[in-house]
Amino acid sequence: MVPTHYYLILAAIIFSMGALGVLVRRNALIIFMCVEMMLNAVNLTLVALANQWGNLSGQVFVFIVMAVAAAEVAIGLAIVMAIVRHKDTINVEEINLLKW
């Protein structure tokens, strides 16, 4: 049996990588992929914990999260498309009409 906390640590590492990626990368699609990485890291955590605690709540949660992530993908890509049509770029640093 692989101890649960191995999974948790792995998931934590993946989550951190994803978070770092969102902050550092400039291509909107890559940022989006990093977000998906974060969500999947959480999925991993949930599945591992569901196994540890022996109830199915975690696994149900994972299904829900996957569905939500799919919805987000649909929306996110549509938004990216809308911008590409105008600016022909998905480099977030170049999309800066609105100043910080």
Binding site: V35, M38, L39, L49, F61, V65, I79, A82, L98
Partner: protein, 479 residues
């Protein structure tokens, strides 16, 4: 195998909103082509009817005693008040949308359907007492709002706003989700009641709560997670901004309150202190940034951020009185903020391919052009600054009282000083309206669509009277 019997009467208002959303979506298809005038107005009318029906159901449904739907959704006093705030904000935003939408889009059904779905998300979020339901509600409301933010496809600012909102929103959802997973790690339960009962304590609960705060803090536009807000507020169609500024905050605050209550094992001092500093940072940053804005909408966006800071003061207080104050303030805030955005929307010069953003000086000389609008806007500005006897003052009074009572007097002092700072930029608008000449390019006779005027009238009345009339009743809502 038998299916569990679900008491759907507990979520009747939300179901009404959902069904209306679906009806609005297909109404466009089913409406006979011939009647074109009715066809244009039908989605808006239908949506408004749905909101009003949901509101009536909330008000008239008798005592919401706290019965739960399988332990996932609860119908208690807190949810009821949240419903009222969100539905009020939604109805007012809808009135604004009615006249504003034709200027930049012909896709009315989609707009109103998304709008109603966002409302439904908020209502469910207020009722959620279980982690999965909470997450899903939050996502429903967020995704709908991402799309609505970018709805004005003609202008690039809208798309950019939507992208920023989306990326940062999804990012923070990840944090919130991880927080939920850590709660699950600590207790093996996803229902908040079960989590509270376990009284687990320890690293997982603390980390989970922290991540939850990050996720919800983003939604509330709390510093330092506020970066998306000015852009999203500025790029979104103004009615969406108006609705979003109140609705999301209200729903997220209720969720925050419930989660914090459930995480009772985490020592209060720890999270309260963290929130107190976040509140201080938010208030100060929001107010100082607002001082330097040249766009009216962006100034109002930073003012919204500052108000999130004030609202957090009530949560920091940690008492039932504190959260009652938050609810009171949310009502007052709905009136004054949506009113301010309403007038900002009237001052814009909408065009199908671009909206000329209303600068700070767009309101100059408004008293000469449309005196009652200027008076209303003055009331909104003064109320946002917290001047008696307007609603904003009473809201701040209750918030700061709760803080002082719980020993957070320094936070109350910070809040009060921040109100003085904010008075400076609110007064700037008032000065422009009453004491300056209109700029050359301004409309001489501002067009006043009926629905927007109604929204302004309602919000003005609310700002004036809510503080005085509602104070006798606001007590004992939060447990």
């Amino acid at each position: 195998m038998s299916l569990p019997t679900l008491d759907f009467s507990l979520i009747l208002p939300e179901l009404v909103v959902l069904i209306t959303a679906l009806l609005v979506l297909i109404a466009d298809l089913l409406w006979p082509r011939a009647a074109s005038r009715g066809r244009e107005q039908a989605p808006a009318v239908l949506a408004l009817a749905g909101l009003i029906l949901a509101g009536l159901l909330t008000l008239l449904a008798g005592e919401w005693s706290g019965a739960t739907l399988q332990g996932m959704l609860v119908a208690d006093a807190l949810a009821r008040y949240l419903n009222l705030v969100v539905l009020l904000a939604a109805a007012l935003g809808l009135l604004l949308s009615w006249s504003y939408l034709p200027h930049f889009s012909t896709q009315r059904s989609e707009y109103y359907a998304l709008y109603l779905l966002a409302v439904a998300g908020m209502l469910f979020l207020g009722k959620s007492i279980e982690l999965i339901t909470l997450f899903v509600s939050l996502e429903i409301l967020s995704i709908a709002l991402y799309v609505l933010t970018g709805f004005h496809r003609g202008q690039l600012a809208g798309g950019e706003a939507a992208l920023k909102y989306f990326l940062l929103g999804a990012f923070s959802s990840g944090f919130l989700l991880y927080g939920a997973a850590l709660f699950y790690a600590a207790t093996g339960a996803t229902r908040l009641a079960d989590i509270a009962a376990q009284n687990a304590g320890g690293f997982y609960m603390l980390a989970g709560l922290a991540l939850f705060l990050v996720g919800l803090g983003f939604k509330l536009a709390v510093a330092p997670f506020h970066m998306w807000a000015p852009d999203a507020y500025q790029g979104a169609p103004t009615p969406v901004t108006a609705f979003m500024s109140v609705g999301t905050k209200a729903a997220a605050l209720v969720a925050l309150f419930r989660v914090v209550q459930a995480a009772g094992s985490v020592p209060v001092g720890v999270w309260a202190t963290a929130l107190a500093f976040l509140s201080l940072l938010t208030m100060t940053l929001g107010n100082l940034a607002a001082l330097r804005q040249s766009s009216l909408k962006r100034m109002l966006a930073y003012s919204s951020i500052a108000h999130a800071g004030y609202l957090l003061v009530g949560v920091v207080a940690g008492t039932a009185a504190g959260f009652d104050a938050v609810l009171f303030y949310l009502f007052a805030y709905a009136f004054m903020n949506i009113g301010a955005f309403a007038i900002a929307s009237l001052l814009e010069r909408p065009g199908f391919y671009a909206v000329q953003d209303a600068g700070i000086h767009a309101a100059d000389g408004l008293f000469g052009r449309r005196p009652w609008l200027a008076v209303a806007m003055a009331m909104f500005m003064l109320s946002l600054a917290g001047i008696p006897p307007l609603a904003g003052f009473f809201g701040k009074l209750y918030l700061f009282a709760a803080a002082v009572e719980s020993g957070w007097a320094w936070l109350a002092v910070a809040g009060v000083l921040n109100s003085v700072i904010s008075a400076y930029y609110y007064l700037r608008v008032v000065v422009g309206m009453f004491m300056a000449e209109p700029s050359a390019s301004a409309h001489l006779r501002l067009p006043l669509p009926a629905s927007a005027t109604l929204a302004v009238a309602l919000t003005a009345l609310g700002t004036l009277l809510f503080g005085l009339l509602a104070t006798p009743w606001f007590q004992g809502i939060s447990r």
